[in-house]
């Protein structure tokens, strides 16, 4: 019987896809990949660089191994490694991913000097008093009034938004943008049901809550409904 191939190369419109078998040992795989790529190189004309996608199936690669594979491919001419796809992720990665996509509900008042930090979205049932800070990796939804500081998308998510039933913040921060209340705020008009987001000019805009329906359709998590 013919020996099963551990490395399969497929050409697609967007470049090359390397399917790496997940049942052989890593060492074998590396060796075969090196050989395959070396022979392949001769047949290819020296043209523009070709993007490469790597699919490792059900094999888990740690960071060092990923780098090794990438280096191996990069050494060959004309090949540019895009991404390495794997069906396997570690528990830690999943936990992190889950935390970042979770809405954390907190029911209390964030008082002066207190800091509340969550990795994902924050739903606060209560107020943020002046001097208090809320920080979230995702969006911040405040059911009470926001009078302190809110920082959404703290890991650099420009799409994050901040909403509050009563919007009187001392500072708003989204990703790396910052906006603060005017120094002589004399307007006593009620700022109710408002939201803050980053617009195309990379400025924080405060507007009616309803504009988000158009601007951030990805806030929807509920599929269906009639």
């Amino acid at each position: 019987m013919k020996k099963r191939q551990n490395v399969t190369i497929k050409g697609t419109k967007d470049g090359i896809v390397l399917h790496l078998d997940d049942s052989c040992s890593y060492y074998e795989l590396k060796k075969e990949l090196d050989e395959k790529l070396s022979e392949n190189q001769r047949t290819q004309a020296e043209r523009q660089s070709t993007p490469v996608k790597v699919d490792v199936g059900n094999r888990y690669l740690n960071d060092a191994q990923r780098e090794e594979i990438k280096d191996l491919i990069r050494q060959k001419k004309n090949l540019v490694v895009g991404e390495i796809e794997s069906n396997v992720v570690t528990k830690a990665e999943v936990d992190k991913l889950k935390a970042e996509n979770e809405v954390v509900t907190v029911s209390r008042i964030i008082r002066s000097g207190q800091v509340l930090e969550v990795p994902g979205d924050l739903l606060l049932i209560g107020d943020v008093n002046p001097g208090g800070t809320v920080i979230a990796g995702g969006n911040i939804f405040i059911m009470g009034s926001l009078k302190g500081i809110a920082h959404a998308g703290v890991f650099g998510n420009d799409q994050a938004v901040i909403t509050a039933s009563s919007m009187q913040p001392s500072q708003l921060r989204i990703s790396d943008c910052l906006n603060r209340a005017p120094d002589n705020a004399q307007n006593n008009d009620k700022r109710e049901m408002e939201c803050a987001y980053i617009d195309e000019n990379h400025q924080i805009i405060v507007d009616r809550l309803q504009v988000l329906i158009q601007l951030r359709p990805n806030l929807n998590r509920f599929e269906g409904g009639h």
């Binding site: 008042i109 002046p130 001097g131 208090g132």
Partner: protein, 267 residues
Amino acid sequence: MGEAIVITSGKGGVGKTTTSANIGTALALQGKKVCLVDTDIGLRNLDVVMGLENRIIYDLVDVVEGRCKIHQALVKDKRFEDLLYLLPAAQTVDKSAVTPEQMHKLINELKQDYDYIVIDCPAGIEQGFQNAIAGADRAIVVTTPEVSAVRDADRIIGLLEKANTIESPKLVINRIRNHMMKTGDMLDVDEITTHLSIELIGIVADDEEVIKASNHGEPIALNPNSKASIAYRNIARRILGESIPLQPLEDKNKSVFGKIKQFFGVR
């Protein structure tokens, strides 16, 4: 077994000591056995406000360090029959002379003999504050209708909530000037209460009599005719669990025309 109440504010100068002295006095007037504890070590003045400065022999630090028994350090208030005592703070050392554990032990000992222990807390959030709240069961936060005082009160409430041995703090708004509240130049009572969102236990009008009385070493609560005195007495009764409506803030001495209007029931 008595109850320990800490009087705190965060910000200095809002009237913690005056409030402590008067709540203690008012509770004693209600027939409760009260011990006032000054935890402002190094900057004591509850004894001055109570007019007991001359009688201090031992102080809180002496007790904690075992140089004397508790009852030797307690200063008895002669105006009351065996109801009101003061445990004065030391003046020669600073706040680090006592630890929260020592305070906790001390307050627990006092609770055996007294109905209420009123603890006067120093300003700030450092060790002095930690000492003061260590043995407390309840807390009263004093603030004035100023943004800075309310901000500090908010911070203090946060810290009190974190130390979850204390039941939810109550609020006293001190030094209210009615005419300024009316014109909107001062935060009003509702605004402060909703902002801090804790239960209001009393409001005290700004009254020159309070300063006068403090300087004479006689808590205003002893004077039954002053508005501030009634306010403090009401706070004491609310601490005892009575339900008493808040005093109206309007000035009593209306104009002649106002009196006539009132007579005819015109508002």
